[in-house]
């Protein structure tokens, strides 16, 4: 299974497949092949819960192709609780800023044609 397929399988189960550098312990997403800190190529898998807080977002009202039926929806960046990793994704059913204040807890609920799918907790 490729790193990306593995990453997707984890996302489907609400997890983020991170990898820990065996040299310096720096955490990365599984789609990264060399440690950004020390350049090492060896990692060990380190899946973390896809639960965190929204650090920023937008509410899309002019969507790209394929997203017309979901508009308005949010695309958000979330910082995970158990690490400093950030992950972004599609977050449906958000119509106005009051629906999603920065800091709102959220989690990954799956992965499909809309990429990583998030939901408010």
């Amino acid at each position: 299974m490729s790193a990306k397929e593995d990453f997707i399988e984890n996302a489907k189960n609400g997890k983020v497949l991170a990898r820990k550098c065996t040299e310096c312990n720096e955490l990365h997403l599984a789609t990264v092949y060399f440690c950004k800190k020390c350049g090492n190529k060896n990692f060990e898998n380190h899946p973390v819960d896809g639960i965190g807080k929204i650090v920023t977002y937008t509410i899309m009202t002019v969507p790209p192709e394929g997203f017309e039926q979901y508009s308005p929806y949010a695309w958000a960046v979330m910082e995970l609780n158990d690490s400093n990793i950030r992950i972004s994704g599609f977050l449906p059913n958000i119509a106005k800023p009051e629906d999603l204040p920065v800091g709102t807890p959220a989690k990954i609920i799956g992965y499909d044609a809309r990429g990583i799918v998030l939901e408010k907790l």
Partner: protein, 384 residues
């Protein structure tokens, strides 16, 4: 390293153009060649920047342009670096002239997309993001910059009205630019009442999709002196990179590649932000100009929005930002934009800018990035 100069520059009008991608690229190239007063045969190589040639049924643009200029035997290449293609192409041309490989080169940027419609362009432009994490998950470019705007509003004492004033200022400058796409005076109310595209960004916070082509001739100092008195010198060139996806960045109110590119360009020029008389910066969205003005060192982090709001970036104020009207008013033909910025600097520093002239300007800076700033190039120019 050879000293590198710009001896000629030209652009088509930016906007919705009827001519083909090849036609407009050649028109801009001819204008640059004529402005330089050289013969096409004196050009050693062509650097062509373009992103969506496929939309107008022409890729491999280099040889097509060179053939139409009557110099099919000269080497050329095409460079794609999203909305930063023009400045990246300019940088490669600069490096090759500085290294002494070539005496004179043509740098032409071009884009032709408006005939495809808003949905096509919104979708295809999203391919410039880190698609797996962003475009695929429903983020358009307005959406990605809107996320940066939301982060800025959360972190700093700034308002959507502050952002709106960037648009108002750039439209005011663009009124004096006959080649600008949107030549229309607008007010803060117009911006605030325009349709929301991706909250908190509204239609008038966004630059338009444009067609257009821009071209410059870069050469060694020796070549410049042999041909004209009307030239400017490139005194700084820098590049940098950022994590391609916004999620890879710890701070969303700064663009790391701009800071890296600026640092290296300032170092090469032996200058700092206070020495810059005017700057053409990448204002694809109003928030982008605010962030740029901080990352380039003109204002402290978090002060850019207020500075714009107070009029400190207007033409002939503290620092004239985007005297051309910027991407917002002049337009944003993505492959041409970075080259078009150099055309503006050439016009400004050789007394061709007319009503939008920055008074007594000696040093100008260009900053142009790709996508959300995943790639960036900064250049500094000086009159001679």
């Amino acid at each position: 390293m050879e000293k590198v100069c710009v001896i000629g520059a030209g652009s088509t009008k930016y906007g919705k153009l009827d001519d083909s991608i090849t036609d407009i690229a050649v028109q801009a190239s001819v204008a640059a060649i004529e402005s330089a007063g050289i013969k096409p045969k004196e050009i050693d190589a062509g650097y062509i920047s373009n992103v969506f040639g496929i939309a107008d049924k022409q890729v491999h643009l280099g040889p097509v342009i060179m053939s139409n200029l009557g110099i099919s035997e000269k080497p050329s290449l095409s460079i794609e670096s999203a909305c930063g293609s023009g400045s990246v192409s300019f940088r490669e041309a600069f490096a090759n002239v500085a290294a002494g490989f070539y005496d004179a080169v043509l740098v032409t940027g071009v884009e032709k997309v408006t005939h495809t419609g808003t949905e096509w362009t919104t979708t295809y432009f999203s391919y410039c993001s880190d698609f797996f994490y962003e475009g695929q998950a429903g983020a358009s470019f307005p959406g990605l910059f809107a996320s940066m705007a939301r982060a800025y509003l959360t972190e700093f004492n700034a308002t959507e009205e502050d952002f709106a004033k960037v648009a108002v200022k750039n439209h005011e400058n663009g009124l004096s630019n006959p080649k600008a796409h949107l030549r229309k005076k607008i007010t803060v109310d117009d911006v605030m009442n325009s349709a929301v595209v991706a909250s908190p960004l509204k239609l008038y916070d966004c630059c338009p999709f444009s067609d257009g082509a821009s071209s410059v001739i870069l050469c060694s100092e020796k070549f410049a002196k042999e041909h004209t008195k009307d030239y400017i010198q490139v005194i700084g060139s820098g590049r940098g990179g950022s994590p391609a996806a916004l999620q890879g960045r710890n701070h969303l109110t700064t663009i790391p590649s701009t800071k890296l590119a600026a640092e290296s360009a300032y170092k090469m020029a032996g200058l700092g932000p206070k020495d810059i008389d005017f700057a053409e910066v990448h204002d694809c969205f109003t928030i982008a100009e605010v962030v740029d003005s901080e990352d380039l060192g003109f204002f402290e982090k978090g002060q850019g929005a207020k500075a714009a709001s107070e009029g400190r970036t207007k033409l002939n104020s503290e620092i004239s930002i985007n005297p051309s009207g910027g991407l917002k008013s002049k337009g944003h033909p993505i492959g041409a934009t970075g080259v078009g910025q150099v055309v503006e600097v050439f016009d400004q520093l050789t007394g061709r800018a007319g009503e939008r002239e920055v008074k007594d300007a000696k040093v100008g800076l260009t900053q142009n990035f790709g996508a959300t700033g995943a790639s960036c190039a900064v250049h500094i120019f000086q009159s001679v």
